[in-house]
Amino acid sequence: MAVPEFLSTAELLKQGAEARVYRAQFLGKPAIVKERFPKRYRHSVLDEKLTHRRTVQEVRSILRCRKAGIPAPVVYFVDYTSNCIFMEEILRSTTVRDHIVGAQQSDAGNDVELRLLAQRVGQTLAKMHDEDVIHGDLTTSNMLLRRGPQDKESELVLIDFGLSYISALPEDKGVDLYVLEKAFLSTHPNTELVFEELLKSYAASSKRSPAVIKKLEEVRLRGRKRSMVG
């Protein structure tokens, strides 16, 4: 049982409901290890199958994105026995979330910058959906901005494909955007215009976007009705 021993010495970054995220050296490089652990309340055979499938889906989606030129962490090693993914640590990076919070705190002129960022996110997500990758958990914490060398503009890197899957359905893509919209507007108050910019650039970047945006609007309505009833 080499991996559990190794993880016991690694730095724990995040303890989630389904997974733990660690930082460690791997083959001499700075790496992030994502460990999916068994959930006691689920039947153990079923649980093992689900955990394994999530791990497989995560690495498949990462690879699919990278092949299409969408930045995501390089996968170094997958241990299917302990359901651990060893991947590149995105160095010199901040989450889009922290970036927006920072920009909103300091005033003056950041509006333009935030809109540019929103456009970039929109373009990247359009590209991802054109590859039929549904992220499943889009939030501004699951997007990193990696600073480039010197004045080169920073690069947007998508992370945490733990709930991702492959689908061509506009409905799935619409829900993906709806999840982001909810998370975005609740994490970052007064960003309605910024988010609108994101959707505009999404729509402009993908030929298949009209059907997705239509679904997004439908899902919004459903969400509203549900919240009026409940």
């Binding site: 190794f6 791997f26 083959l27 690879l63 299409a68 996968v75």
Partner: protein, 175 residues
């Protein structure tokens, strides 16, 4: 000249890489490996981008060996198998193993910490010139590598060739 790395997951295991050019006895070396007289994997270095690629293959081989999940019969064959983007063992040997006419070779040795590291035996068996492992990029054939791993220009926009190669090696069992 050689490069030794301890595997973090298996702190008792060390992987050493030795690189040779102007090799004149590739056929003989290959035969010694087949007969089990060389304790190491003999790899065609033109298919390697970086020593890290070898470490990724070796780490996975050691892990699968401990779990009893190896696809081949020996650790050195497993390292060669892991370098390949496909799951066909014969393809892996053809592309990543050495051939009789080759004039350069990478030797990968996996040892236990308790063994005294000694590579004189290997160095004496190779009729060639040992060069620093970090010079591997001088021998790699990028065109051939891109073609075999099917690396597209758009993928190279979001990372290096090494990134593309390593991602495929790491995920090939589930694609």
């Amino acid at each position: 000249m050689h490069l030794t790395q301890e595997l973090e997951l298996f702190p008792d295991v060390r992987v050493t890489q030795l690189l040779f050019k102007e090799v004149k006895n590739a056929a003989e070396l290959r035969q010694s490996a087949v007969d089990g007289k060389i304790n190491g994997a003999l790899i065609n270095p033109t298919m390697l981008v970086d020593p890290f690629q070898v470490l990724v293959a070796a780490n996975k081989a050691v892990c699968f060996q401990k779990n009893g999940k190896m696809k081949t019969r020996a650790l050195s064959s497993e390292i060669i198998f892991n370098l390949s983007p496909t799951n066909k063992i014969s393809d892996a040997f053809k592309r990543f193993g050495i051939s009789d006419g080759d004039d350069c070779v990478m030797v990968v040795v996996v040892q236990d910490k308790s063994e005294t590291p000694c590579f004189d035996d290997i160095v004496s068996k190779v009729d060639g010139c040992q060069i620093p492992v970090k010079d591997i990029s001088l021998l790699s054939d990028h065109m051939k590598i891109k073609k075999l791993y099917k690396v597209t220009p758009q993928e190279e926009k979001c990372g290096t060739l090494l990134d593309a190669v390593v991602s495929r090696m790491a995920t090939k069992d589930v694609l």
